[in-house]
């Protein structure tokens, strides 16, 4: 059977590709296939050789689109939005612009009938940003060529990594609807806006330009991408809505406007008016490369000696250290890199791994920062307690990374006070809606929310393995902690180790796991302090409260037992007296926090009570301001933030922030940023802004 199938395929394939096989070959194959029916060997090496040919990346991903996150229509819709938004944010941040991003989802009518968004199968996605724009010549390749981009070849933290995302989204749209990607881009108010319609030639992995013209565009600067794709819009878990909401939590410096397919408009205001410090590009760290990569680098280097190669192509290798490594590897430092024999290279590789080399620099990473996380959580999640922890940078496989964790706990003051109004008697079997809900984990890699494959993710595993019970939160074995809680985990790194190309889960390196656990523990400890403090006050209160409740009942029962002629008021009063003397009396009021003591021992935290907000108040106060103004006015709002906090009480809370990051460097960055905004505010034209960012970078270097 097997031989028969093979040979028949050989026959059918031959006429299908006549250009590739000569006539004689095809004749030969026909002969052999006849022979194959009689005896075993079916295909010759020549034949096989004729069928072997190059596969283009695009072809590969057309077949394997699930690898990029297009496995089902619902996820595909999300992936398209995500890729476009990620690109916009990366571009804005790199150019030093506070991002304003608009996302619009529209149902594309299939035929004439109008379809409800939940039933629709086709959507138009429009993502508009105020970024630097893309130069005309690059537009086709950026949007219609896989593995083309600026981010792959450098060691710098960014959302995108490979240059697959947006082109893959375009390819998916092309595949499912046949529609090209429409791009409008303008690099500044003086430049013209260009309109492109591009498709991808999957066989060659090259762009096909359908339309290219200059148009009028209302935006002075930025990029707009329109994708038409097959998808499915569904709210709830792992939806576009959830993704955007989570994006806004981790990126409080972004103003996000989202029009749902239902026509509703959601605004996620900017609550943090400071751009994240721009991450620097670094060279690879010697610990992080594989042997093959070292061989390739030896071939490609511009250096003339091995020693200078080591010193100049890697970070943290000084000329002195390079010489030492060469000596230890018994290699002449003066030998040309290309002349290093594979065997010697292996020794060199092993030597490098055993030599003590300083950890890579960490300025290539820009963590979100405790304040920004607090601000994001506070903005999007209703709760009573918020905290944020940034770990100092650590290294895995030679790649530096930073773990940040945050927590939002509670139901929010308005919801807490609600049930007291509606007291419906409970029937048997009903309960007061106990907190059986489990905590929600929101995961981020380089500020991008991860929505799928939660259980495969290192962050999720770390949350599970943390003993939350130590911090006063209940948790059943092997489960998430229970309670109204959102756990935020962010990994920032030049290279986030995803488990797959679709970037859904972070791989489980020990170093990463350890850092996440440490961050979660710190956040947990703070939550524990908060809960214990609240519990202590509440339990005193509850004690007195239950006695007060029950006294009524007991007195009423006694009165009935005594035939209804009991001096009830007197008895009640006596019992109340006993109750308050036994529960600490006036002290309870103090414990309940009515004296206004702040949250000591809780850095980077916000506590919301019915009375008001405690902790990092200025962050919380920044939030309610609806619709932060356009970019220009931002600098004005930024100014007070950079000043030391006005209230003396709060300085203790803010101080540790600068400690962890190094107070000097933080000030410098802020100075740089201020300069940038100052220039922007002066009304300089947009092209100048790029220079401004360069200038800011320069000042950063100088200082």
């Amino acid at each position: 059977m097997a031989t028969k199938r093979l040979s028949s395929r050989a026959e059918s394939s031959t006429p299908a590709s006549p250009s590739e096989s000569t006539e004689s070959e095809s004749a030969a194959s026909r002969n052999t296939s006849v022979a194959a029916r009689k005896s075993a060997p079916a295909v010759t090496a020549v034949e096989m050789g004729a069928r072997q040919r190059e596969i283009s990346v695009s072809e590969f991903f057309t077949k394997n689109r699930h690898l990029l996150g297009f496995d089902n229509p619902r996820k595909a819709l999300l992936t398209c939005v995500k890729e476009a938004v990620d690109n916009s944010l990366d571009a804005c941040e790199e150019a030093g612009i506070l991002p304003d991003v608009t996302v619009k989802l529209e149902v594309v009518a299939n035929g004439s009938a109008l379809v409800a968004p939940s039933q629709a199968t086709r959507f138009r996605i429009t993502v508009t940003d105020n970024g630097p724009g893309i130069v005309r010549q690059q537009i086709p390749r950026v949007f219609a060529k896989l593995l083309y981009g600026s981010k792959f070849h450098r060691m710098r933290m960014s959302r995108g990594q490979q240059g697959i995302g947006i082109s893959a989204a375009g390819m998916y749209g092309q595949l499912t609807t046949g529609k090209p990607v429409k791009v409008i881009s303008r690099t500044g108010p003086r430049a013209a806006a260009h309109y492109f319609e591009v498709q991808i030639d999957t066989k060659k992995n090259e762009p096909l330009v359908h339309e290219n013209k200059q148009i009028e565009w209302s935006q002075p600067q930025g990029t707009e991408v329109v994708l038409e794709v097959e998808g499915r819009y569904q709210k709830g878990r792992a939806s576009v809505d959830e993704w955007l909401e989570q994006t806004s939590i981790a990126n409080p410096h972004v103003r996000l406007t989202y029009s749902t397919p239902e026509g509703e408009q959601k605004n996620y205001p900017r609550t943090y008016h400071e751009l994240p410090p721009s991450p620097k590009e670094i060279k690879p760290h010697p610990y992080g490369i594989e042997f093959g990569a070292l061989l390739k680098m030896l071939q490609d280097t511009k250096s003339h000696t091995v020693a200078s190669f080591l010193a100049s192509d890697f970070c943290r290798v000084s000329p002195v250290l390079a010489e030492e490594i060469c000596k230890a590897a018994k290699l002449s430092p003066a030998i040309k890199p290309r002349e290093v024999k594979p065997h010697a290279a292996e020794t060199l590789y092993k030597t490098i791994q055993t030599t003590k080399i300083m950890a890579p620099p960490t300025n290539c990473i820009s963590p979100i920062g405790e304040k920004a996380i607090l601000s994001g959580l506070y903005k999007q999640i209703k709760g009573e307690f918020y905290t944020a922890v940034s770990r100092p940078p650590a290294v895995y496989r030679g790649y530096p990374f930073v773990i940040e964790a945050g927590l939002a706990f509670g139901k929010g003051p308005d919801e807490v006070s609600k049930p007291q109004q509606a007291a419906v008697p409970l029937a048997e079997g009903e309960d007061q809606g106990n907190d059986t809900e489990q905590a929600r984990v929101i995961r981020y890699a380089n500020r991008v929310p991860l929505l799928y494959q939660q259980s495969a993710c290192a962050t999720f595993k770390a949350v599970l393995s943390t003993t939350w019970r130590n911090y006063g939160v209940s948790q059943s074995r092997g489960a998430l902690p229970a309670g109204p809680m959102v756990i935020f985990v962010h990994m920032a790194s030049v290279w986030v180790p995803f488990t797959s190309e679709s970037k859904e889960a972070i791989a489980d390196y020990d170093e990463i796991q350890k850092e996440i656990t440490l961050a979660l523990r710190e956040a947990g400890r703070r939550l524990g302090i908060f809960l214990r403090r609240r519990e202590r006050a509440a339990s005193e209160f509850r004690r007195r409260n239950i006695f007060e409740l029950y006294i009524e009942e007991v007195v009423a029962a006694c009165n009935r037992l005594k035939g209804g002629n009991l001096p009830t008021e007197k008895l009640k009063e006596q019992l109340h007296k006993i109750a308050s003397s036994r529960t600490g009396g006036l002290k309870t009021d103090e414990a309940l926090g009515k004296t206004g003591a702040g949250p000591e021992g809780l850095p980077h935290s916000i506590i919301v009570t019915a009375e008001g907000i405690e902790g990092e108040r200025e962050i919380a106060e920044n939030v309610p301001a609806p619709g932060a103004g356009p970019v220009k006015s931002v600098s004005l709002e930024t100014a007070p933030l950079t000043k030391p906090p006005a209230k003396g009480k709060r300085t203790t809370a803010t101080a540790p922030a600068s400690k962890t990051r190094g107070p000097a460097s933080r000030e410098k960055r802020k100075a740089g940023q201020q300069e940038l905004f100052a220039e922007a505010a002066e009304g300089k034209k947009a092209p100048a802004r790029k220079n401004a960012s360069k200038a800011a970078a320069a000042t950063r270097k100088r200082t």
């Binding site: 006695f547 037992l561 008895l571």
Partner: protein, 368 residues
């Protein structure tokens, strides 16, 4: 009878009102109101080998009001006491479930119910029985009627004459309160009393008129016999000198049912005085019976983990220390099987009536 009741009620009612006095007195002296409640657990129970009874010890727990853990229970105790006093005044009897409903309400200005389930009110009634030394019947609380009796015995119930020999195969449904004031035993000519665990087997015996042939009273409690059934058996045993035989499944629970009938239960140890029948005999199914009566192995059921643990517990109870009993239980554990009474049907539908019991009675094959 009519004169006896008010007097007795008066005593119980007084005890209930006394609870209110405890609270009032404590309040006046700024003390925490406290009740002493005897502990109803194995730790506070001892077996009196001389009397052959389980007796309650002296250990007591204090139930105080101003203690977060007990406040609610204290309040509930007062509510139940109030409801029970109400019953006394109105001279009504009621069920446990009705007490639960009577006392359940939402405490004002809260969502909290005084009771959430009946599981909360039942133990409190037992607490009151024990601490007030009042029987449940005296508290006017009755359990469900879940027992049947048939045989040559005549009762007087609310002035009606009930001849249990003339009630067909259904018999008379044993009321939950069988104290002499409520149920009078007018005549009893039986030779012995057979207490059957299972209703199904009681039906078999009743249908076959086993009681007529062997001149006995057939009694069942459908599983663990309720107080009414146990008390009635005790009265027939005491007042009419009927020997009592217990017929149960061959499993640890069957053994325990027998022991409850004989010595009293741990939970209601204070009532064994008037419920237990120390002379009751265990007639079957014994773990020796399958072999003796040639029951095939395949009608047995494998002992599960719970059965094994329970059997081992029984081995440790003081009242199962007789060598015959140790042997009986250990034999079951070694065989690893338990047998239901129903399994006898494997031989013949009427095997129980025609072969098994006659042979048992003839051979006097029972355990004490």
């Amino acid at each position: 009878m009519a004169q006896a009741k008010p007097k007795k009620n008066g005593a119980v009612a007084k005890k209930l009102v006394g609870m209110a006095d405890v609270v009032i007195a404590a309040a006046q002296r700024s003390k925490d109101p406290t009740f002493e409640i005897p502990i109803r657990a194995l730790s506070n129970v001892s077996f009196n080998p001389r009397k052959g009874l389980i007796e309650m010890g002296e250990k007591k727990q204090a139930r105080t009001f101003f203690n977060v853990g007990m406040a609610k229970k204290f309040m509930q105790t007062m509510l139940v006491a109030d409801a029970l006093a109400e019953l006394q005044q109105a001279d009504l009897t009621t069920s446990l479930r009705e007490i639960y409903y009577r006392t359940k309400h939402t405490i004002q200005d809260s969502h909290e119910n005084t009771f959430d389930t009946q599981d909360e009110s039942d133990p409190i009634i037992e607490d009151l029985e024990v601490s007030l030394i009042a029987l449940r019947e005296e508290l006017h609380v009755r359990a469900e009627n879940s027992g049947s009796i048939v045989g040559p015995v005549v009762f007087g119930d609310d002035g009606d004459r009930v001849d249990c020999a003339k009630l067909g195969k259904g018999g008379y449904s044993v009321p939950s309160i069988v104290e002499p004031e409520y149920l009078e035993i007018r005549r009893c000519t039986a030779d012995f009393l057979l207490l059957v665990e299972k209703g199904t087997q009681w039906n078999r015996l009743s249908e076959d008129k086993f009681w007529r042939r062997y001149n006995c009273v057939l009694l069942t409690g459908n599983g663990q016999p309720p107080r009414g059934v146990r008390r009635l058996a005790r009265r027939l045993h005491e007042e009419h000198k009927l020997p009592v035989y217990v017929l149960v499944d061959n499993d640890p629970w069957g053994y325990y049912i027998y022991s409850v009938v004989k010595q009293g239960s741990i939970n209601l140890a204070f009532e064994s005085q008037r419920m237990a029948i120390p002379k009751a005999k265990f007639i079957g199914l014994s773990s020796a019976d399958p072999e003796r009566y040639e029951l095939p192995r395949n009608v047995g059921i494998k002992l599960n983990e719970k059965d094994v643990t329970r059997a081992k517990e029984l081995l440790n109870y003081q009242w199962f220390q007789k060598p015959a009993w140790q042997q009986e239980i250990k034999r079951m554990l070694t065989s690893g099987l338990k047998y239901e009474l129903d399994a006898l049907a494997n031989k013949d539908f009427q095997y129980l009536t025609k072969k098994y019991l006659p042979r048992k009675l003839k051979e006097k094959d029972w355990l004490d």
